[in-house]
C-alpha cells in the first residue's frame, strides 16, 4: 500500500472561540480527484484555509499529513513549498505588482527551497506563455497587476495559471466555480483536467454539481456542519443535485 498524498485525521478547526470543523477525516491518494460538496456555512472554506495554514484558523486537534509528514507546525509558505496549493474563492487584488513578477517570484521561492536554480526572466517568459496558451488564458493578464481590474472569470483563470506554473502535488480549489459563466467554468475545468496526473491530487470544494459535469471526481464527500456525513462516487454529486442536502441533514 502506497502512502496517501494527503491524510487528514479527526481534524478540529476553530476561528477564535468557535469550532467550525468537528472531527473531519479524509484521505486523498496521488492521482485522485476528490470533491467536497456542502451547503454555505458547512465549513468547506474553513477546511481549505486550515490545510493551507491561514493564521486565523486554529487546529485544536487532529492532524494533516502530506506524504506522511505532519504539516501542522509549518508556516503557509512551507506548506506551499511542500506541495500544497490553494486556489482562492476570492482572489486578492494587489495593485502595483505585475502578475508576471509575482509568478516568477513565487516559482523561484519554491525552487530555491528545493535547492533548484532560479528560473531566468527569459526562460520564465517562454514557460509561462506556453502554460497560458495551454490553459487558454490571455497572456495579456501577465503584464497587469495581480488581479487588479480582472473580471471574476479572469481572476479564477489566473488562479489556475498559478497552479499550472507552480505544479503542486496537492491542489485545493475553493469554490473556483462560483461566479463563473459557462465559458469561464469550462476554461477552468479544462485547465484542471490538463493538470490531472498520476502524481497529483485534487480537492475541489464546490457548492454546485455543475463543475463536476466538466471534472470527473473519483470521490465525492458531503460536508455538513463541520463533518463529512457521506462519501461516494461521482453519482453522489448527481443525487445531491436532485435531492438537495436536506435528506442528509435529517440523517445527522
Amino acid at each position: 500500500m502506497t502512502q496517501p498524498l494527503l491524510q487528514i485525521t479527526d481534524l478540529h478547526v476553530s476561528i477564535g472561540e468557535t469550532e467550525i470543523i468537528h472531527g473531519l477525516s479524509l484521505t486523498v491518494n496521488a492521482g485522485e480527484v476528490h470533491a467536497i460538496m456542502g451547503t454555505n456555512g458547512s465549513g468547506k472554506s474553513t477546511l481549505t484555509k486550515a490545510i493551507a495554514g491561514h493564521p486565523d484558523y486554529t487546529i485544536t486537534s487532529g492532524d494533516i499529513l502530506l506524504n506522511g509528514r505532519s504539516i501542522l507546525a509549518d508556516e503557509p509558505e512551507d506548506r506551499a513549498r511542500a506541495g500544497i496549493f490553494l486556489a482562492f474563492q476570492y482572489p486578492v487584488e494587489i495593485p502595483g505588482v505585475s502578475n508576471m513578477y509575482f509568478l516568477r517570484t513565487a516559482l523561484n521561492a519554491q525552487r530555491k527551497a528545493h535547492g533548484k536554480p532560479e528560473v531566468s526572466g527569459a526562460d520564465f517568459l517562454t514557460m509561462v506563455k506556453e502554460k497560458a496558451r495551454l490553459m487558454d488564458i490571455d497572456s495579456g493578464l501577465l503584464n497587469r497587476s495581480i488581479n487588479e481590474g480582472f473580471s471574476g472569470g479572469e481572476k479564477k483563470r489566473n488562479e489556475i495559471l498559478q497552479l499550472a506554473v507552480l505544479e503542486p502535488a496537492m491542489a485545493i480549489l475553493d469554490e473556483t466555480d462560483s461566479g463563473l459563466d459557462i465559458d469561464a467554468l469550462k476554461t477552468v475545468a479544462d485547465g484542471v483536467n490538463a493538470l490531472r496526473g498520476p502524481s497529483r491530487g485534487f480537492l475541489l470544494v464546490t457548492h454546485y454539481q455543475r463543475l463536476l459535469n466538466h471534472i470527473q471526481p473519483d470521490v465525492v464527500h458531503v460536508l455538513l456542519d463541520g463533518r463529512i456525513v457521506k462519501s461516494g462516487g461521482k453519482e453522489l454529486a448527481l443525487e445531491l443535485e436532485e435531492k438537495g442536502y436536506s435528506w442528509l441533514e435529517q440523517a445527522l
Binding site: 493551507a52 495554514g53 491561514h54 493564521p55 486565523d56 508556516e75 503557509p76 509558505e77 506548506r79 506551499a80 513549498r81 500544497i84 496549493f85 490553494l86 482562492f88 482572489p91 486578492v92 494587489i94 495593485p95 502595483g96 505588482v97 513578477y101 509575482f102 516568477r104 517570484t105 513565487a106 516559482l107 523561484n108 521561492a109 519554491q110 527551497a113 526572466g121 497587476s145 498559478q162 507552480l166
Partner: protein, 428 residues
C-alpha cells in the same frame, strides 16, 4: 531663547552680502527680521507641532565649504544620460561636475550668484512665490548660491534638466532654486537632494516656480539625504491662467525632513498635481506640509501623498486646500494613505479644507493601516516567506506612485532604486 549651538548653526549659515546689489541686501534684511521674530520654531508653533527641532540646538555645524567630490560619487544618483545637469556641492556650484551642452537660446540657466549682478530682472521674482515661514525666511536671509532657470515663451523640451544638490556632511547649507517658465512653455525638471558621508548636516532649501499663462512644468523631486541630515525645504509654485504644475516627490532619507509645498492657483483654469511618496525607516522623521490655494475660478488640484513608516520612524502629513472667495468651479482632491510596517512606527495625518466659495467640488480622505492580512496570506500560500510577502506588498503600495512619475528617465531610475531596495523580491 537661542542657545549657544543654535548660534553655531546661525553663525554657520551667516552670509556676507556686502558685495550684493542693494535690492538683494534689502530682501535678506527683511527676511532676517522675519526669522528673528520666531527663530527656529518649536512644537508650540501649530504648523510645527509634529516636528521637534530641539536636537538641532545640540549640534554644531561648519559654514558650507566647497568639497571636491568625483563623478564616481555622483554616479548612483545620475539619471539616464543626465547630459543636462547642474551640480551643487554643499551649496557651491560645481563647474566640473555640471554638464550644460548646447541649450536653446530660449533657455537661460545660470547660478544665482552670477545672475544677481546681471541685467536679468530677478528682483521681482525672487521670493515672490514662497509663503513666509520661519525656515523660508531663514533661507531667504542666508542662501549662498543656487540656480536660476528662465524659459522664454513657447519653449518646449522633453529633455529633463537635472539639478543635484549634494551635501558631504558637517556643514550648514542654504541653497535655492528659482525657475521662471514663460508663456506656453513645456518643461521637465528633476531636483535631487543627495547626502554623502556620515557627519550631521543642516540644509535649508527653497525652490520657487513661476508659471506664466499655459506653461506646463513637470517637476520630480528626489530626497536622498542621510540619517544624519536635517533637511528643511520649501517648494512653491505660482500658476497663471491655464498653467499646469506637476510635483512628484520621493523622500527616501534624512534624519529629519520637513518639506513645505505650496501651489498658488492664481489664474483661471490652472491645474496642480502634487504627489509624494515617503519611505521612512529607522528613526527618520518626515514631515510634509502642503498648501494648495485656489485663488481664481475653475482651477483644479489633485494631491496624493503616501507614506510607508517602518521601525520607529514617524511620517506626518498636513494638507490644506484653501478655496478663496470667488474661486467658483474649483475641483480639489486630496488623498493621504499611510502604511505602518511596525508597531513602533507612527503617522499623523491632518487633511484640512477651507472653503470660502460656492459651487466647488472638494474631496479629501486619509487612511492609515497595516499590510492587508489576506494579501499576506495569499502571497505566503504561493511560497513567499513573510519577509518577501511584506516586501512585495510594501513595494506595491509605493510603486503605485513611482510608476506614475511623469518624467520617463526619472521613473525608470526610481523603479530601479525601488527594486534594489526590495532586492531579491521581484527578480530583475
Amino acid at each position: 531663547m537661542p542657545t549657544q549651538t543654535t548660534n553655531s548653526l546661525l553663525n554657520a549659515l551667516a552670509h556676507d552680502a556686502s558685495s550684493e546689489p542693494a535690492w538683494l541686501r534689502d530682501f535678506r534684511a527683511e527676511h532676517q527680521k522675519l526669522f528673528d521674530e520666531t527663530g527656529i520654531p518649536t512644537q508650540r508653533h501649530e504648523a510645527f507641532k509634529y516636528t521637534n527641532f530641539r536636537p538641532l540646538h545640540e549640534q554644531a555645524f561648519q559654514p558650507a565649504a566647497a568639497v571636491e567630490i568625483t563623478e564616481a560619487d555622483l554616479k548612483p544618483y545620475l539619471i539616464g544620460d543626465d547630459d543636462l545637469r547642474l551640480v551643487f556641492v554643499n551649496g557651491h556650484f560645481s563647474d566640473t561636475l555640471s554638464r550644460l551642452p548646447r541649450v536653446p537660446d530660449a533657455l537661460l540657466i545660470e547660478p544665482l550668484g552670477r545672475i544677481i549682478h546681471s541685467t536679468e530682472p530677478i528682483a521681482t521674482k525672487l521670493g515672490a512665490v514662497v509663503e513666509p515661514s520661519p525656515f523660508g525666511a531663514l533661507n531667504a536671509a542666508t542662501f549662498r548660491e543656487g540656480l536660476y532657470v528662465h524659459a522664454a515663451k513657447a519653449l518646449t523640451s522633453d529633455r529633463p534638466l537635472h539639478v543635484l544638490f549634494v551635501t558631504t556632511g558637517g556643514h550648514a547649507i542654504a541653497s535655492r532654486l528659482l525657475m521662471s517658465c514663460g508663456e506656453a512653455t513645456d518643461l521637465r525638471l528633476i531636483e535631487s537632494h543627495i547626502g554623502l558621508g556620515d557627519a550631521p548636516r543642516f540644509v535649508t532649501h527653497t525652490s520657487e516656480f513661476i508659471l506664466a499663462r499655459s506653461a506646463k512644468l513637470r517637476h520630480v523631486r528626489l530626497l536622498r539625504e542621510t540619517d544624519a541630515s536635517w533637511h528643511v525645504a520649501q517648494t512653491a509654485a505660482k500658476l497663471d491662467r491655464d498653467a499646469s504644475y506637476t510635483h512628484q516627490g520621493v523622500a527616501l532619507g534624512a534624519r529629519v525632513a520637513r518639506h513645505e509645498i505650496t501651489a498658488l492657483l492664481n489664474g483661471e483654469g490652472a491645474h496642480a498635481t502634487l504627489q509624494g511618496l515617503t519611505m521612512a525607516a529607522g528613526t527618520q522623521h518626515v514631515d510634509h506640509h502642503i498648501t494648495v490655494d485656489h485663488l481664481r475660478p475653475h482651477c483644479t488640484s489633485n494631491q496624493l501623498f503616501r507614506s510607508v513608516a517602518d521601525d520607529r520612524s514617524h511620517a506626518t502629513f498636513t494638507g490644506k486646500v484653501i478655496v478663496r472667495p470667488g474661486a467658483i468651479g474649483t475641483d480639489a482632491k486630496q488623498q493621504n494613505n499611510n502604511l505602518l510596517l511596525s508597531d513602533d512606527a507612527k503617522v499623523d495625518t491632518r487633511p484640512q479644507l477651507e472653503i470660502y466659495a460656492d459651487d466647488v467640488k472638494c474631496s479629501h480622505g486619509a487612511t492609515s493601516g497595516q499590510l492587508d492580512a489576506n494579501a499576506l496570506f495569499f502571497l505566503r500560500s504561493r511560497g513567499l516567506d513573510v519577509k518577501q510577502a511584506r516586501g512585495v506588498l510594501t513595494y506595491a503600495f509605493a510603486n503605485d506612485l513611482v510608476e506614475h512619475i511623469g518624467i520617463e528617465p526619472a521613473r525608470h531610475h526610481m523603479q530601479q532604486v525601488m527594486h534594489q531596495k526590495f532586492h531579491g523580491l521581484l527578480g530583475e
